[in-house]
Symmetry: C3
Subunit: 438 residues, 3 copies
């Protein structure tokens, strides 16, 4: 018997087995099923294939290299600086724009001629700074044109709580001032007659004034231009391209400016970038900020390479929450070090406010490939199965004659001692055997 | 006939066709199948939907911008430097922390007043350095408090194999010293009576001493704090957030420190970061190292935005393998350039040891979406199919009455000249026709 | 009745329902089906499992930290500079190689002793530069050994269109020169007798010459070596490794150079990197460029950790399109600031040409996991369904006896007032009832 079974099994290997179907002449469910099928088909074709390009193999691991180059000259004429020119080497920090980030200094607080010395933590710096040379590079006394905000700043800075003192013992020697500029020397400096003073500290003296010019010093940076060169490569498809038009018209690349009209010009005006990012340049210039320049490459490599073009978008990355001053703007400090004739170091401390531009490149390329096509189709068919399953439920349990259909769909078989008979289930059908027994 | 077929085909378009099932009253297999179904269901619901949130569309392409700001002052009092203050502008290199990396210098070897000149490749630098000014910015002669390790270093450096020589011809003129500081001039400098010496080189002289202070000069950097501002955006869902609490209590943000108790405070103490990363600050401070600060955003946007919070984790990125000195620690060299009265450049070379902090932001957001839901469900149904397939095998080939069921499941049809008859297969059923012939 | 139905439903819960199949003894379709099945099986096993390792859970979110360190000394002996040594601190800008990018300066245009002053926008700078000290750090007058290309450059620069003028009114005072170095003072400087001249500008004077040495000044950078230390971590699998062999043979790591023979040596010769990237070092050195160093980690964590090794590849990221000079090469400007005895700032402007190396680390690790295994298998089974669907179409509509099989496959059921009878459809079978009526 087992042997027969195996024989049958082998023979049946090349028989084609196909499910037996019951045709339920029930238009309601029939239509329902067709609707389900059609909607699945629509989803598969319309969404998966047309919209999502499900027939394509995609490469999202983009190799990108960004080179940026700024152009522009700013002219400032302030009472302290006199006439001064700022060029690229002055306002781009650090000079190299590797890693697709560049920073443009638009406002600054300069504290010249700082030396290691002792001075009060806050205020009253001038008297303590005799050796400021006759022609100081830059002076920071801007008291007379402060905005209200800055006055607030000043008041804030004026009381670094930890630096206030009434007597020397309040200034524990050697202790660093919290959020301050140095370590306490142990002396409490007071104005005549006043009861409260500030601790003397060992630090780079004079300490920095906490007020910055209201209107950005380099506001004219709004007109600077940046040339962004971005070459990308999709390793999987060995496809590389560049955001610079392969045009022989060189003068175009020298003179054009990116805009709606010139979507493929790689030269941008800083002011426009900020505006497109929804910011106000003058405002950002004075407080500092971070702007993201997204370059998106969405390439359908089944089309011509010329169809694969970058799409630029701009957004402000530091969501300026003006209310919490602690988390608004962008600035950092750096110093230029000099050495005088006696070999003593002194420095010019610069607190630079400005706009940092992060160029982020991302993208994906698609190319026809059989594997994803098959997978999507088969997943679609699996969906069809789901649809059928759903319609079965309706047919077998929800409609009026459901149990009749149930009987038809499910053929009950029982194995008994006598050679098996297939007794039809609930639907009062008679079996051939029964007929035979008449 | 063909026409009839087509007609039937068309008519049958709106018939509902459903597989015919054979009910095998075999509880064993029945239960088995239910178990399989339930486990698949459990997997689908429990794992795919609850754990993996399979009903959500996810966005992993996070836009992030990081701004870091260090605070802290270090006070050093060494025999060479005297009392000196180090502030942010001194120990943060480069000053800007763009691209979410910042480096804190914690230890350094200073070689002041280097000039383009000729000097021996190794050792004995002082005598050759007459023009060190009276008050040298910093001097590096720390011979008297070297650790053993440094003595070893010193010995190592003492014999740059390529710089050793017995006679002038060993120092090929114009040849660069391998792993050295300059090019050979062709002269071999020897101490009196000694047979072996070192080549003279053209270089920035004096060359750097290879010994660094055992205990980190800026060990107090352990108490420095860094304020990390990270604002993110999930473009697909147009959702942006910031790691800084939107609190109006500003003083909290000024005074808080990140810890288990304050998981949403954006201010970190360097010492803690290193400790959490499993490092020893003082040790790292002297050797240098790299610490990774991971900020993870896992947001379920079906919940309230306030539920979407960053999670910080810290790890040491340069796995310090102390045994191979070549691959431990982190340091680099830079120079400050000065020009003396005669317009000759000289420089102060600084080999900076310190800790580099890489802030890495990643995350993903999920939001309910119908597409992935459907796909996951249908893939689950496909699994059901797999289960049924498996149970069929059991029913048809493994259990005792398998071939009976096989007979029931598979209805054999043969087409013959006479109008086709469906002769039931192995189970000796009689066909209606046969009955009719009685 | 409904109650009966529910009872039956409950009873049938533990019956095993299996599709009823029709065995079509049609070898053609049978073989076709087997072929389809086998090919799907082959695809599933061969491609999905063996090639794509579909049984593995993969982690592509690699944590990586790169530390690079350059070694090498360059010796230049030019008529202007005399003998000069360039070491790491001189040619690596910025000094720190954070973020896995490093730049090696290979060529430069130096404009020494620039001061804020007035000078013509183009050419004729010397006469206007009296205060150049006796021993100028570096001079850039290289007119006598220009290549043709540079002559072209020079001519280009010679006519910044916006700086040309015939009379003073052509130089609008305070207007910045487009693509120039300063703002116009309102005077037009002309050589005697010539009708055309150039506007005078307020700028850092003298302005930079636009000509650079034909042969790279630091061409010997070709022999410099860079030590790249890359430690990675796959967080999902808690697996970390380093590209530096865990060898105790330290001297090997000091002396080896990466090559086909030494694939795991972490020290690279710059010249080789450029050559492997398909570039010409001397050419790139003079124009500048960007090289990508990809480090690929493809780890099968089911194997031994020692099998998980990095694979290096090199490519040129700035696709040099020599024709458009605007988009070729890589350079940037920076300045060294000095202060003279009177406290006046002056600077040395350096336009640095060089090679930027971007180290990009990516990789993925795979480890056996049950979930993806199941998913892949079930998707394969879904494919089987697709195959069967396709064969059905053949059987039912394409072969000769198709409509016979259609009749067998589809059992039509109609529910009527009298107890339902299953009238076989197209195949002229007689139904039991009909027999009964004899």
């Amino acid at each position: 018997m087992g042997q027969v079974a195996w024989k049958a099994l082998f023979l049946s290997l090349f028989d084609y087995k196909t499910e037996k179907y019951v045709i339920a002449k029930n238009k309601k469910v029939g239509v329902l099923y067709r609707v389900v099928q059609l909607s699945i088909l629509a989803y598969l074709v319309g969404w998966v294939f047309v919209v999502k390009k499900g027939y394509q193999d995609t490469d999202t691991s983009l190799q990108s290299s960004v080179i940026t180059k700024l152009k522009g000259v700013a002219f400032t004429n302030t009472s302290e600086l006199g006439e001064r020119i700022w060029d690229v080497a002055d306002y781009v920090i650090p000079p190299q724009q590797g890693e697709s980030v560049f920073f443009v200094m638009t406002n600054l607080i300069v504290t010249p001629n700082q030396r290691q010395a002792m001075c009060p933590e806050v205020g009253r710096t001038e008297p303590l700074d005799p050796q400021t040379p006759a022609k100081p590079g830059i002076r920071t006394d801007r008291g007379y044109f402060w905005s209200n905000k800055e006055r607030k700043d000043e008041r804030q800075s004026a009381n670094i709580p930890d630096a206030l003192c009434a007597k020397d013992t309040d200034c524990l020697e050697g202790e660093a001032v919290v959020a301050g500029n140095g370590v306490k020397t142990g002396r409490c400096l007071k104005d005549k007659g006043s009861t409260r003073g500030t601790c003397e500290i060992l630090a780079w003296c004079p300490v920095e004034k906490r007020s910055k010019p209201k209107k950005p010093l380099l506001g004219s940076a709004e007109n600077f231009t940046v040339y962004i060169k971005n070459s990308i490569r999709f390793p999987k498809f060995k496809f590389s391209k560049m955001n610079v038009l392969a045009t022989d018209n060189e003068s175009y690349l020298k003179t054009c400016r990116y805009s709606q009209e010139h979507p493929y010009c790689p030269i941008f005006v800083l002011g426009n970038i900020v505006r497109w990012a929804g910011g106000n340049f003058q405002e950002m210039a004075s407080e500092g900020g971070v702007i993201g320049i997204q370059i998106e490459w969405n390439c359908d490599l089944d089309k011509a390479p010329s169809e694969c073009n970058p799409h630029y978008s701009f957004s402000r990355l530091d969501n300026k929450s003006a209310e919490t001053s602690i988390s608004s703007g962008y600035n950092f400090r750096f110093a230029k070090y000099y050495r005088d004739a006696e070999g003593v170091d002194y420095r010019t401390l610069i607190k630079a406010y400005g706009i940092r531009f992060d160029v982020m490149v991302n993208g994906k390329a698609g190319k026809f490939n059989i594997i994803p096509t098959i997978i999507n189709i088969s997943s679609g068919l699996a969906l069809m199965g789901a649809g059928a399953f759903f319609c079965d439920l309706v047919l077998l349990y929800l409609i009026k004659k459901s149990n009749f259909y149930r009987g038809k769909k499910y053929e009950e078989v029982k194995s008994s001692s006598r050679k098996s008979l297939s007794s039809p289930t609930l639907n009062g059908n008679q079996s051939p055997e029964q007929l035979g027994e008449l």
